[in-house]
Amino acid sequence: MSENLRVKSSQYIDETTRVSFKFNGTTYYGFKGDTLASALLANNVHLVGRSFKYHRPRGIMTSGSEEPNAIVQINPNTNRTEPNVRATEVEIYEGMEASSQNCWPSVNFDIGGINNFLSPLLPAGFYYKTFMWPASFWEKYEYFIRHSAGLGKSPTLKDPDIYDHRNIHCDVLVVGAGISGILAAKNAAKNNYKTLLLDEKNELGGSTIYENNESNKIDNKISSEWLKKEIEELKNIKNLEIKTRTSVAAYHQYNYLLARENLTDHLEKKDKTNKIRQRLLKIRAKKVILATGALERPMVFNNNDRPGIMLSSAIKKYSDFYGVACGRKIIFFTNNDSAYESALSLNDKGIKVEAVVDIRKQSETNLEKRVIDAGIKIYWEHTVVDTSGYKRLNNVSIMKLSNDGTSVTGNKISISCDCLGVAGGWTPAVHLYTQSGSKLAFDEDKKIFIPNKNNSDQISVGSCCGDFKLDEILKNLNEKLKNFLDINKTDFENITVNNDQEISKRNIWLLPSDKALGKTKPFVDYQNDATAKDIKLALREGFRSIEHVKRYTTTGMGTDQGKLGNMHALGIIADTAGVKMGELGTTTFRPPYTPLTFGTIVGRNVGKFFDIFRRTPMNDWHVEQKAEFENVGQWKRAWYYPINGETMHQAVQRESKAARESSGILDASTLGKIDIQGSDASEFLNRVYTNAWSKLGIGKCRYGLMLNEDGMVYDDGVTTRLGENHYLMTTTTGGAANVLGKLEDYLQTEWPELDVYLTSVTDQFATASLCGPNSKKILKKIIPDLDLSDENFPHMSFKEAKIGSIVCRIMRISFTGEQSFEINVQSSYGKDLWEKCIEAGKEFNITPYGTETMHLLRAEKGFIIVGQDTDGTMTPIDLQMDWIVSKKKYDFIGKRSLYRSDTMREDRKQLVGLLTDDPKVVLEEGAQIVSELNKNPVEMLGHVTSSYFSPNLNKSIALAVVRGGKDMMGKKLFIPMEDKTINVTVSNPVFFDQTNERLNA
């Protein structure tokens, strides 16, 4: 069934290497070097997709990354599948499969095509307007809308490929390797700039490389021949790195650019394995030269979207570069000279050009003469008013344009054809330029936006700055490069350039038809099916801002980001609203320029490299004991140690009982530890903690609460005075880095006069916390010569001792309410210390416990956990911790805020205990608390912050924050849950051992 439309051997296609591939299940053949689009066109396949909304048949329209229609799913149902790939960019390889998207059951027979006939019922904003009522039905509508919309299918299998990131620093980055980019890179590198040249295509040379027009000559050589010589010379230049198949995705401020280098997508399956597929280049360039070229514009006329209607420049590239004819009877439709160049080029290759339809008034230039000499008919001042052919163009109708270009007159002429090349002029590719923060200006004459005010050290050269003719490109390039690179001359300073001179363009954003606008389909955005009608409707409905019109009509919101149609949308808005295009501005060009895979973005940061994690020196022991772990900050902490298939609840109940009845041991190495030294260390602590520190004796420990300047609790922990000018502060596990940062901030910026030095020693020490009534006996076994009597070593004190030859710091402090000892040793001895404790504790049933049991034990004692029972809105007074706030100290961080009218309110949320009326019922953390049941709406008084079943009290306990809770002791409150309401009573938050007898038992 496939036909061969190869016209002439092309030097860019390797005709000796035939490649077979499948498209929608049919096997086709192409050649090495073909894109999927060129290979399909060579097989006379134009119909490749369906449009988003009306499901209209669509064909290949362009030859590059701006393609709106020919987007396909590559290798469907495999682990390397990728949706929304532009057929015009992807290179074919042996065994490749591709399929159409957004159609069911097939691209040839698509049920969604019914939307095309319903289109009068589906104007802009249809979904917004229709599915609003009743609001509760949205969930039902959504199911169907989501199913009928959507492009490709995202992969569901694990990605087998490797992705990578690379940082590059260069003096000059040149984006785009057309003639301007090549000359720019060459001259930069030759002048000792370390230069990087990038291009998204696999061949250098842009559109000049296949330009065989006899009248475009440089130094009397055809421009492509001249450029080939230049490219050849690049190989011998030092300082120059060239990367092809590399697309710049983003241009951020300070000349920081992100580019995707494609390394294996064009290779056969067997050659892809164990190679890096794509690499994200993070480029920091001192200078940037943008040579990104220009995109040809289509024109907006009735039924301008049929398969077979393409950009004139794309038809030229398919024939000159790929050696493929896009049709057998081709018509060009133009408002400028470039279609004539395409027509001549096709004619040279023996491809039949039926006619050129030109909306301009007749003129005679050399170019037009040659077209007439070739026997091609020119219809001056005519426009296409309609096209026909559902799945492939077969006819165009043209009529004479009126003088003002707003209507058509005379008889309709019908011309049969199978391909229409549209040339609507050129739009500079300024996407990256504006991403960098630089500003555009509108050129009224050329009807284009061009670079105007640069935001970084950059220039735009070639057609991306609005130079379209070879002579002006090279002349301006020469001057700009000399200035930008600060050099006296370039190596192409004295070339002679000849090219055709252009007659003036005629720009009509929306071409008239013999039918009323309402009866036509002039598409502006092909992928999203936005027509000129939709834009006018949006204006009638009151939308004025271009950003609003864009979102309402979805113009420019497809995967192509409106690279083709945005200018027409602007033009139609400007014409309709009677404003100047320059005043209207453009929509924002956002990165990425072309879509990036998630793989490229994350690079190597997948699997276990997804995020940094920290493990304690005792980690291996916990793993051997089959502990379950939880993440606390970046730490992996032992959560609980299940034995014989215990559930978490069972394990935690057992661990909690053991810790109070005999002994438990906790790995507390993750607590933040900050070493504080200096002659003003005591004064410093006075200022950062709420309580007083000056009188703390050497060898003593004290609990401290740290506030933010707004009076809210920030962190807590025990600090030990190791010497006259030496303290060791502990912080919460998750808050360690932030606390250090905050303390440094105050020291460096507010109190530089203080002589204090802070050092993080979290990683330097491992900590085993031994607790329970038998903890003293166990410690005695490990360090027999240390006097552990309450007189010598009381609660809240510190001793330095030795285990064998290992120095250790022991603090007698408690987070459980039991007697406990925190033993700190140098990290490398951490596991050894732990094992010694376990060994010595065997006879006392020493029970390792994890963070969950730690939380339960401290909740029994009503000790808060910053970040669980507080949330950045709790003052120490709210926590009923008035005792720790010094009244005598003149100042400390947050003190003044405790006297603000808001922080002194009586009805703030305050920490209380809650006991459930049914002691077996355990509350859900986060559950809301109310005081009335039969009120709607009812005021939420607060929420449960910590909740456990206490094995030591044999009942459920909870901590909660409740509005005005301090004065509610004994009051009954309610916790409404989905299926029932739980009755609770407000209690003292200290549930266990309220007199602290056990600390010294």
Binding site: E744, D745, Q748, T749, P752, Y890, D891, K895, S901
Partner: protein, 91 residues
């Protein structure tokens, strides 16, 4: 992302730094003598201007030093960088 010239380490990528808000807001020496409004002025009120702004920055993943920066927030141009305690240079 910016390139920031840390006054202690030299040019580094922005990702090594942490922004610390408006600069030259001195913590009152005698907070207890301030009215609620005066304290709130210090505590909450920040200009957040579009244009030239004086800011504090911290080389958090480097030397951990704080310093000041004058930055145009409209185009992210860094106009000057100077150490804590130094007078802002005229720009």
């Amino acid at each position: 992302m910016f390139v920031i010239n840390c006054p202690y380490c030299g040019e580094r990528d922005q990702q090594e730094f942490k922004a610390g808000g408006e600069a030259h807001i001195e913590r009152p020496k005698q907070p207890t003598e301030l009215s609620d409004d005066e304290w709130a002025e210090y505590l909450f009120m920040r200009k957040n201007i579009k244009g030239v702004q004086y800011e504090r920055w911290n080389h958090a993943h480097g030397c951990r030093k704080w310093f000041n920066m004058i930055r145009d927030t409209s185009n992210d141009e860094i106009k000057a960088i100077y150490k804590m305690g130094e007078k802002p240079p005229s720009i």
